[in-house]
């Protein structure tokens, strides 16, 4: 009992993750706390049991006898089959729920349902129909777009999506804003506005990772990939390539700058090179 309580306490007070800067990050952290609690209970319990056994049942000086000839105990064995099975089932269902809330299990026909949406056909990636086809063919999660209970994202998801085209190549990320024809080496986004990254890789597999967003997606050559998120905290966060991509893999980094809405509008206008362009965020929230 004390063990369970201390495990729960540790789980609630663990603070070893980086800042949570996107809508799905707090949900992720919730899962992390639950897993950490269960893990602590199990580990401390087994560790304690092991150390206790080693001390209590150690062979003392001059002892030559054997231990107790217990060859097994069916009830006990059923007991410690059932308990882990229940725990694992609970964790599985819970993480499924978390995944659903992060947008991972949205039905495939939902056009907003992709996070890793891709198509294996060779269609041009900028082709809109190809992207739609991709979403129908289907794949995973999309952590924004959906309204999550309890996080106050209703307003946020009503904002129009900011599309950004991401090109990953050895050894850099390039970001292109079709709405303003801006090309940048850094990703600039607006706090509270959903972002949709349309990613493709030129040469080898790369992976787009922002630890503060708790998001990672491989970008596989030949498979245009969609990833969406909603930043909720202004600041600069690292973008890291997480898939070995060659000698300078460790140096393949960039920055995502989450601006306050007015700052973002300024940045967007300054860099806007398109003749008719509407800063997507500025027009609604700015």
């Amino acid at each position: 009992m004390a063990l369970v309580l201390s495990g729960l306490w540790i789980g609630q007070n663990v603070d070893i993750l980086p800042a949570a800067a996107s809508l799905n990050a707090p949900i992720y952290d919730q899962l992390f706390r639950v897993l950490f609690s269960i893990g602590s209970i199990l580990f401390i319990g087994i560790f304690g049991l092991l150390i206790f056994s080693l001390i209590r049942f150690r062979r003392r000086e001059g002892e030559t006898g054997d231990g107790v000839a217990v060859e097994g105990n069916l009830q006990l064995e059923i007991f410690w089959t059932a308990i882990p099975a229940v725990v694992v089932l609970f964790v599985g269902i819970y993480s499924y729920d978390i995944y659903d809330r992060m947008g991972g299990m949205v039905p495939l026909s939902d056009p907003h349902s992709m996070h890793g949406a891709m198509m294996t056909s060779q269609g041009s990636d900028s082709d809109v129909s190809a992207v739609i086809q991709a979403s129908v063919l289907g794949t995973p999660p999309e952590p924004s777009e959906r309204i999550w209970g309890g996080i106050g994202s209703g307003q946020v998801s009503a904002a129009p999506t900011l599309p950004v085209e991401v090109t990953a190549l050895q050894f850099a990320f390039l970001f292109h804003y079709p709405q303003g024809d801006i090309t940048s080496g850094e990703l600039h986004v607006q706090k509270g506005q959903p972002v949709e990254l349309r990613m493709e890789a030129r040469d080898v597999i790369h992976a787009f990772w922002v630890p503060e967003f708790r998001l990672k997606q491989d970008i596989i050559p030949g498979q245009p990939t969609l990833l969406s998120f909603t930043p909720i905290k202004a600041g600069s966060y690292p973008i890291i390539c997480a898939e070995l991509c060659g000698p300078y893999h460790g140096g393949m980094r960039s920055t995502v700058v989450v601006h306050e809405p007015d700052e973002f509008a300024t940045w967007f206008e300054k860099n806007n090179t398109a003749t008719v362009a509407i800063a997507p965020g500025a027009s609604t929230t700015g």
Binding site: R59, L76, V91, I98, Y99, L244
Partner: protein, 556 residues
């Protein structure tokens, strides 16, 4: 002092086989010689792989790439992974202990196919030297031990092709070994010995060999296709030519996830042999142990895509592989609770073999907990391909399997050589390995959670301190091999004479001389139907009370 290690057996029938120490360099057909050949060769490659790991940790002691070139760094990490997995852990837990022990356990005089057995071993040194030589001739492979295309298609071709060739040879060796173990366990049992009377290591090796035989050919086929892509410019996995890179990942992990069980199941078996002897108690729950091995074998074959949660996998697949992966925790958990119950109420000798085995339990439980966490898609999406995974993996294969290898060497060295290892040096070896290991790999979980990807030569300077702590741990691990090596060499000549059965054990390998004669027993092989028959009869103690305590303590 002129007698070379290990001492020659007294009875050696005349024949074509060399005698004395020379037989360890020969195409010997004796399973015990082959087992020790595997072990010594494996340990040589462990030192090579360890030196490579040392280079990685030196490079990572500072956040900039300043120790070795970036290409070299990628070669080093590729070689480290390949050498440690294919040339150290797999050959030693399977080949070395399997060949040495399985014939004893089934009551046979040798393996089912002694020549195939020798071929399987002799594939390993050339494959290993080929792999290492590739570094000096034109550069080794640079694409990690996973060799994902298209990266493996764009890095220098010669090194990658040599890497493929070497892994194919090692895979062949592994398959030959697997077939041999299956045949030996199923067909070479002494008349009267039933399957459910076999020591647990036989079951572990049976399960492991089934995995080897089912999954290694898939890897071999995949690598042959990959080599076509490199040499003949076919397009199986090359997206630029209409191929699909994700297919490679599926095929690769169809072998390489079971490979983890190929590395840990034999370790589970070895621990099941060591614990009862030194705790003086029967192995708890023999039958459930057997079924959990079979369950792990089955589940191990259907979980591979959990390595690909951030690749393009559809949601149903993620859900299926999450649940399948998490469920491996159930049979694995049974084994760990059974081991704890084996210790409970025993008369535990706190010697090196026992300490390494208990550290294995601790590390593997930790690695198992992080493993169940990694099986959860949302969790994995954040930490995939980070140092969290590096930490998790090393807790499983180093903290798990390598600790068991050391424990097993302390346990069976008296049988191999007829002399005991020095216990004080052994405990000292344990202590610095234990501290070094945890210092090296525990902080890596934090690094991964906070944003350090794996396989990088340079990193964010905020991680410098933790990386340096990890490097200090690696240095301790490197130093810890010294007392071990001194112990092994010194004890071979001057260790306390062990006698036939120093641990007073009941399994068949102890019921012959140390070291055993060429055909294992003089006269007929003993029939051991209760390999774990230790302990005072249960009638003499209050069974109810013991059970109640166990129930209470495991239910927490």
């Amino acid at each position: 002092m002129t007698i070379a290690l290990p001492p020659q057996t007294s009875s050696s029938p005349p024949g074509l086989q060399p005698e004395g120490w020379l037989r360890y360099l020969s195409f010997s057909l004796d399973h015990k010689v082959i087992g020790l050949q595997y072990m010594v060769a494996g340990f040589f490659f462990y030192l090579v792989g360890g030196a490579l790991a040392g280079m990685i940790r030196v490079e990572l002691a500072s956040p900039i790439s300043d120790f070795i070139g970036r290409e070299t760094y990628n070669e080093v990490l590729t070689l480290h992974g390949t050498v440690m997995i294919f040339l150290w852990i797999v050959p030693v837990v399977n080949g070395a202990f399997g060949n040495y022990l399985i014939p004893f356990y089934v009551g046979a005089r040798d393996m089912a196919f002694p020549r195939l057995n020798a071929v399987a071993f002799w594939l390993i040194p050339p494959a290993g030297f080929l792999l290492i030589a590739s570094y000096f001739i034109g550069g080794a492979a640079q694409s990690g031990w996973t060799a994902y295309p298209p990266l493996s298609l764009t890095t220098p071709a010669a090194g990658q092709v040599v890497w493929i060739l070497s892994v194919l040879l090692l895979g062949g060796s592994s398959i030959f070994g697997g077939i041999n173990f299956i045949a030996t366990v199923l067909k070479m049992r002494r008349p009267g010995l039933k399957m459910m009377q076999l020591p647990m290591y036989c079951w572990a090796m049976l399960g492991t060999s089934i995995l080897v035989v089912l999954s290694t050919p898939v890897l071999a086929g995949t690598l042959v296709l990959l080599s076509f892509d490199i040499i003949a410019h076919t397009g199986f996995f090359n997206p630029a030519l209409g191929g699909n890179a994700v297919v490679y990942q599926h095929l690769f992990w169809f072998y390489s996830h079971p490979a983890v069980y190929i590395m840990v199941l034999p370790a589970f078996g070895l621990v099941s042999e060591i614990l009862p002897v030194h705790a003086r108690k029967p192995l708890f729950g023999y039958t459930t142990m057997v079924y959990s091995i079979l369950a792990i074998v089955f589940l191990g074959l259907i979980v591979w895509a959990h390595h690909m949660f951030t690749s393009a996998t559809p949601p149903w697949m993620r859900l299926f592989f999450t649940i399948a992966t998490a469920f491996i925790a159930v049979p694995t958990g049974i084994k760990f609770f059974n081991w704890l119950a084996t210790l409970w109420g025993g008369k535990i000798a706190l010697n090196s073999a026992m300490l390494f085995s208990c550290a294995f339990i601790l590390h593997f439980v930790f690695g198992g907990i992080t493993g169940v966490a990694l099986a959860q898609v949302p969790f994995d999406i954040h930490v995939h391909d980070t140092y969290f995974v590096v930490g998790h993996f090393h807790y499983v294969v180093y903290g798990g399997t390598v600790f068991v290898i050391f424990g097993s060497i302390y346990h069976w060295y008296p049988k191999f050589t007829g002399r005991m290892l020095n216990e004080d040096l052994g405990r000292f070896h344990f202590l610095i390995t234990f501290i070094g290991f945890n210092l090296c790999f525990a902080p890596q979980h934090w690094l991964g959670l906070n944003g350090m990807p794996r396989r990088v030569a340079e990193y964010d300077p905020q991680f410098t301190l933790v990386n340096q702590i990890s490097s200090v741990g690696a240095l301790l691990m490197a130093l810890s091999t010294l007392p071990f090596l001194i112990n092994v060499f010194w004890s071979a000549f001057s260790g306390k004479v062990a006698g036939d059965n120093p641990w007073n054990a009941l399994t068949p390998e102890w019921l012959t001389t140390s070291p055993p004669p060429v055909e294992n027993w003089k006269g007929e092989a003993p029939l051991v139907t209760h390999p774990y028959g230790y302990g005072v009869p249960p009638g003499q103690i209050d069974l109810k009370a013991a059970t109640g305590r166990e129930l209470w303590s495991s239910g927490q």
